[in-house]
Amino acid sequence: MEKSNTQKVQSPVGESKPRIDAFEKVCGAALYADDIQFGNKLLHARIKRSPYPHASIKKIDTSRARALPGVKAIVTGEDFPGFIGLYLKDRHFFCRDRVRYVGDPVAGVAAISEEIAEKAVDLIEVEYEVLEPVLDPEYGASPQAPLIHPDLHKYVVANFIFPQPGSNISNHFKMRKGNVETVWKNCKAIIERKYCIPHIQHVPIEPHVAIAKVDESGEVTLWDSSQSPFAQRDLIAETLGITQSKMRVIAPLVGGGFGSKAGVSMESLAVAIATKVKGYPVKLRLTREEEFYTAFVRQGLVAYFKMGCDESGKILAMENTFYWDGGAYTEYGVNITRAAGYSCTGPYEVPNVKADSYCVYTNHPVGGPMRGFGMPELHAGLEQCIDELALKMGMDTVEFRHRNCLKEGSILPTGGKMHPTGLSECLEKTAEAIDWGKKALSSAPNKRRGKGIALMWKAPAMPGNAGSSALVELAEDGMLTLGVGCQDIGQGAFTVAAQMAAATFGVPYESVRLATPVDTRYSPYEWQTVASRITWSTGNAIIKAAQDARKQVLDLIAEAWNENPEDLDIVNGNVVSYKSEREIHVKDFAVKGLPKPDGKGWMGGPIIGRGSFMPTDVTGLDAETGQGEHAVVHFTTGAQAVDLEVDLNTGKVEILKAVAAFDVGKAINPDLVKAQMEGGLVQGISSALFECLQLKDGYVQNPSFVDYRIATSADIPRSMQTIIVEVPQEDGPWGARGIGEHSMVPTIPAIANAIYDAIGIRFEGPPFTAEKIYLAMLEAGIIKE
């Protein structure tokens, strides 16, 4: 037999391998939840929703709807007394006594067609008594505001969330570090500002869809577009009063998530309805309009910043107060406000910090996780204040950031020390790429040009014990099947997972396939695909699983060849001995084992490796001071800069060039890392220039693509440059940390700072629409009509 090359082959880690799911996606073969065929038994669900932002339910009459031919089931809040929620159980499946936002589900219908379900929804009569709505988080936090959740004190809550009973404040995160009060007088310059960040929506191109079936024994199956099949299993089962293993979630590919498909939202409605029509699959699909006002939205934020520095430009203190417009239910949102609390200083070393981050119930759409988890909102204002403080000191804003930004060993706002970080390098490379310090000429007399830069940091915000696991199995053909519970939501998790398994075990990338779709009955556990934690957390589990399988292989072959496992390796799927130079392909024994050397019987057996990973060193934070040893697992840091022009005649902004640099520890797949940086950048630009959920009296005014504009192919920067910085994460796979969310965190302030550079105007918040800029320029006398 010809000897294979036993030279060390190139590891698939660090290579820009093509996506593992690309072929099926370009052929239209990739299966998404709405594509699964259920046959003629499929029922269609529609939801009766609240037409008021705040009202108590007096009476629901479903009799006319029930009488409609083709209607199979109608459910209301009466049927489901349980509460549901990730960090704070403040939600029912369907409203029971009151509605808290426009679109709040009041009743659900299953019928033989979507059209009949729609008709039935129209026939359900609900009597309301309208209540005063809370439409502003600052007012909502005040004692004058009507209570949206009078039973807040009774709700079950995670031990790191601090609701204030008798108020609309569902979490109050406090940070008290050093002594802010005594330090202001030592400051050479102080900046105090208010910023308002509007609600936006994730806008995955695939709207939410869920299909649920309950069989006669009460076992529940849910097929849905989900970032969180395991969290859904856990939470929905608990609310239904069944054990978790009776609830099965099957999650095919996700057509964009960005956080909107994390946790539990509309999926529970499909399950609830399905419990009344046992044996029938029930499909619920949100319309695009419902996507805008009933799926999660990004919370609004009213933020107050005060910061000061000494003569040398060293930041001495920050005092930040955040009022989060959490919406009607804050079961998930409370943790966003916590994350913003412990990250409130941005990536800077600040010895004295006072911060209050309030999650406030309002009668607005439900705030939930969105790419960045509070960081884009908080950095939007913070990074403008940093600019202003530097300029007030007469310092270059890049130099000012250099002086103050976190380095390895810097003290974190929560106490403890910063791990090794490439933040300074990101800053330098970004500044260099945008030609920082060189004033570029405008392209026309009616244009003003400006540059802006911003830094960011973000940690995976999750419970300290969020776990991951993985399975590695070998097939007869030597292919390695990798089981994971994480989701590919477009970020490339499955591709990176395959690369890591291949590299660890010793097969080519092309020899790995994923055991998908994720199915909670067969797939190994994963907390949720959120927080940019998958490459890091699942990656660590995959390494362990692949190592486990590898050890089984090496031990078996060592025994078979009477060699030492240390002398063996697996290269390109071949087990090789560096000592005897023997080799055997894994397919020759992976399933059926090997005959014993003496020919009497067999050795080995199917190879299956397992690995699990859970961080063990995250400590809690003191409820009064926000101080603790190890608040989070790590921080990804980075920088963005833009070079733009403002059109004086129209107020339009055009981004000429945008640069992004992030410290990802190690790029497992550099192309995918860059793709995340580009995609996040454009989503960030879109949120900076166009996006705003226009809320009036609690009603979303623009729930469609016609009037909620997102960036199109024509709106992207003329050039984009992405830079990978790699300062390894000690406990990351090959040193890797996450990059998914981070890429849209500093975009709003980078653009705001550039607009300021161009026209000398700052705005209370995005979007920086042409109209807003034009009218401000008029008011400032920069232009005349």
Binding site: S16, P18, R19, D21, A22, F23, K25, V26, C27, G28, A29, A30, L31, Y32, D34, D35, Q37, H202, V203, P204, I205, E206, P207, L253, V254, G255, G256, G257, F258, T287, R288, D488, I489, G490, Q491, G492, D671, L672, K674, A675, E678, G679, G680, L681, V682, Q683, S704, F705, V706, I710, A711, T712, S713, A714, I716, M720
Partner: protein
């Protein structure tokens, strides 16, 4: 509601169907023919995820009635590739990394194919203009635009 007898060619297969008046081409493809590669993103002609070729021209299939397709030739993403090989635009989008979640991809591919059919050598601005009706939330578009350029190059070399 009235039903309409239609004969329509979908991905080179002749189909004889009876469709209700209010059935859109998108629903016909997805629900009757189980060609689920064509995606439903907004049902309002805005997102482009349901784009298919109708008699060679791209249309939002959510905005066309199935009954109007009598005698028409439809190509969906499933029909882009030949027997043995992918369409150059499919290859190019994989190579360029222009696929992320993949939900807009079918529509993007159809729009791109249509562009290259009418303009084998499009400029960057022409590509951007041709794709304005295909919203993508993941990629930031740059790699999709690169893919169209690359496919154009490959096709030119072939000629």
């Amino acid at each position: 509601m009235a039903f309409h007898e239609i004969v329509v060619t979908v991905n080179r297969n002749r189909e004889q169907l009876a469709v209700p008046s209010n059935m859109t081409l998108m629903r016909m493809l997805r629900e009757v023919l189980a060609l689920t590669g064509t995606k439903n993103g907004c049902s309002a002609g805005e997102c482009g995820a349901c784009t298919v070729l109708m008699n060679g021209e791209p249309v939002n299939s959510c905005m066309v009635l199935a009954a109007e397709c009598d005698g028409a030739e439809i190509i969906t993403v499933e029909g882009l590739a030949g027997d043995k090989q992918l369409d150059p635009i499919q290859d190019a989008i994989i190579q360029a990394g222009g696929v992320q979640c993949g939900f807009c991809t079918p529509g993007v591919l159809i729009s791109s194919r249509a562009l290259l059919n009418r303009n084998p050598d499009p400029s960057e601005d022409e590509i951007k203009e041709a794709l304005v009706g295909n919203l993508c939330r993941c990629t930031g578009y740059a790699r999709i635009i690169e893919a169209v350029k690359e496919a154009a190059k490959i096709e030119k070399e072939k000629v």
